[in-house]
Amino acid sequence: MLFNKVTTGTRALTKSIFTIGISACLLISCANASSDKKTALTDANIAAIVVGANNIDISAGKIALQRSKNPEVQKFAQTMIDDHTAVLNSAVALVTRLGVTPVNNDLVTTLAKQSSDHEKNLRSLSGVAFDKSYIDHEVAYHQAVIGVIENQLIPSAHNKELKDTLISVLPAFKAHLKHCQMIQSNI
């Protein structure tokens, strides 16, 4: 019993350290990418970040639907695809109406590179190892994106409608974070 408790405790600690590690890497690289050149984010940059961030999670969700056998992970992946598609469509409709053409910046490039590496890793995994990697990354990714939206995108948005849209999508990202944390605690 004691051994089991110690093992479970060690697993939980390892999981926490792993998640904090990924989260810290994502946050640091996101922060560095946006502050290196000391350039303020434009609405066009923000539009590109929103489109990129949603596409990344949709893409990861599609891989999870193909590779995971865990019903909870599959259900979460489908929710990510549906919700981020809805947010993406809403964002694209808004920037189209506003006449804003998304312009990539360093943050978008960094996110795209990390996503590509992550997807490559996911495609090499299966079973519980896949589920753990996908969900751990989802936890870290949502934590990082919430931080970027709150601390960088909302304060930088010039157009009021764009700012309001960013504020309105935050609860979605927070609900997703709670959801994947629930799954993480059961894997």
Binding site: D83, V87, V169, A172, H176
Partner: protein, 124 residues
């Protein structure tokens, strides 16, 4: 009916008078029945789904009341009884709504987003 038939045959009661009394009785009975039903006041409640929350998240209702959930988010949501994992609504897209007649209290959640929870409490 045999007793009534005998009365009619013995001309104690005219059959037309009997039919009149019967019609009036049935009409009065149906009136009282409708009045009885209307004494039960049914209330229609609305719960907004907004910002990935049920608003209000706790609702006191009476048995027979109905609740309409309205999705104001851009993402889809549904209503699922927590204890039975039983989905009582379809997935609701933006501005879609779903109405349910309440027969008992229950805890519920969004089947797509389990952090969204709500409670229906029976107050009578």
């Amino acid at each position: 009916m045999t007793f009534i038939s005998q009365l009619i045959e013995r001309r104690c009661i005219d059959k037309y008078v009997f039919l009149f009394i019967l019609t009036v009785s049935l009409t009065l009975a149906s009136c009282f029945s409708v009045a009885g039903d209307s004494n039960k006041k049914v209330t229609h409640h609305r719960v907004l789904i907004s910002g990935f929350e049920f608003v209000p998240d706790k609702l006191q209702v009476k048995k027979g009341d109905s609740i309409t959930w309205v999705n104001k988010d851009i993402a889809p949501h549904n209503v699922m009884m927590s204890n039975y994992n039983e989905k009582i609504s379809p997935n609701l897209l933006t501005d879609e709504e779903f109405t349910f007649k309440i027969t008992s209290g229950f805890d519920y959640e969004c089947g797509l987003h389990p952090s969204m929870i709500g409670k229906i409490i029976i107050s009578d």
